[in-house]
């Protein structure tokens, strides 16, 4: 089974039915998979803080949300994470492509990669790092954990996890 299908299956099995995405090349497959699922309403956002607003509203409306985005978005969303998602105590699984890690071909991506875990730690956001394909087995438990504790939770997925970046 592909990682993309496994992730979409786990989202559906955990009742996640509202997913917003801002694309990344590494995430293209999982975004396409989610877009095709009848059980998931997929709403692309133009910026990640906008997407977190959509997720907050959807959750208050009775849906379980998730956001899929790149780690550069941590720089965009710190205020939203602190003053909306955490302040009002809302659950938000964040499936994040961890650009700038091993097997990354674009040097500029490393500049945010070196801050990513530190920023998440500063925000006290539970953070998991998927490096090997078998790490996807944790995803189901992470989703359950997120909706148990009503917190934003980060799942960083690097190029090695996705089988490399493009032809690298």
């Amino acid at each position: 089974m592909s990682i993309d299908r496994r992730i979409a299956d786990d989202l559906v099995a955990n009742g996640v039915s509202f997913v917003t995405t801002v694309p990344c090349k590494q995430l293209a497959g999982v975004i396409e998979e989610i877009d095709q699922r009848d059980d998931i309403f997929h709403i692309p956002s133009n910026k990640e803080d906008e997407g977190m607003g959509l997720c907050a509203g959807a959750w208050m409306g009775g849906k379980r949300p998730a956001i899929i985005m790149q780690n550069t978005a941590i720089g965009v969303t710190i205020n939203t994470l602190a003053t909306l998602i955490q302040y009002y105590r809302m659950p938000l699984p964040m499936l994040i492509s961890y650009r700038g890690e091993l097997r990354e071909p674009v040097a500029c991506q490393v500049e945010m990669a070196v801050h990513t875990k530190a920023l998440l730690a500063q925000l006290n956001i539970p953070t998991y790092h998927f490096h090997w394909q078998k790490d996807v087995e944790e995803f189901d438990n992470i989703l359950k954990y997120t909706f148990m504790c009503n917190k934003p939770v980060a799942i960083l997925t690097d190029a090695n996890f996705w089988g490399g970046y493009g032809d690298q």
């Binding site: 509202f18 709403i43 509203g57 208050m60 009775g62 003053t83």
Partner: protein, 184 residues
């Protein structure tokens, strides 16, 4: 009219509706004028009222009214195409456009100069956009509720704030009672 006068006038219309209210003085004014469990007050996160409201409207069938401001919409302009392309007929975005950043000292925004939010909403693909003067807000809002179509209202009014107390209610209490009202 200034925003607080408009809110006083439309409070009876808002009372039974789900309302997502913009950060800062707009929420303080609505809270002081007519606090209801059906009101979700934003205490931070400038710009996201329209997005929170859209997520709520797409997730459940009750009408959702977002009270937003020109300055806040300008900080989150990406919201307009998302609203246009994910049509929720239970969604009303009411932008109180007083041409200023009210909560920070009434500094002017660009909507008081060349920029038209109604024009931007139409260009983003929103099909039902109305621009109204302050005195006509109640009539236009009621028509939008009765019309059952996704509507963007741009309410042109004067700049100015009423002196209202800061909201001291705990955010989790605001959110929890709002969720109970949504589910009831």
């Amino acid at each position: 009219m200034i925003r607080s006068e408009i809110l006083k006038e439309i409070a009876p219309i808002l009372r039974d509706q789900l309302v997502v209210c913009n950060i800062g003085i707009p929420s303080q004014e609505l809270h002081a004028i007519d606090d209801q469990p059906t009101n979700f007050y934003m205490l931070g996160t400038m710009g996201l009222a329209s997005s929170i409201g859209l997520g709520l409207a797409l997730a459940q069938p009750k009408p959702v009214i977002v009270i937003d401001g020109d300055g806040s919409v300008l900080t989150n302009l990406g919201t307009l195409p998302t609203i246009a392309n994910n049509e929720a007929n239970n969604y009303i975005l009411m932008i109180i456009d007083n041409g200023s950043y009210g909560s920070t000292g009434d500094q002017p925004t660009y909507t008081g100069r060349k920029t038209s939010l109604a024009g931007m909403a139409r260009a983003a693909g929103c099909e039902n956009v109305v621009e109204v003067q302050d005195v006509d807000t109640g009539k236009a809002l009621q028509a939008a509720i009765d019309g059952g179509k996704m509507t963007v209202m741009v309410v042109k009014c004067d700049s100015g704030n009423a002196k209202m107390p800061v909201i001291t209610m705990d955010p989790v209490v605001i959110r929890d009672r709002f969720m109970q009202a949504v589910a009831s």
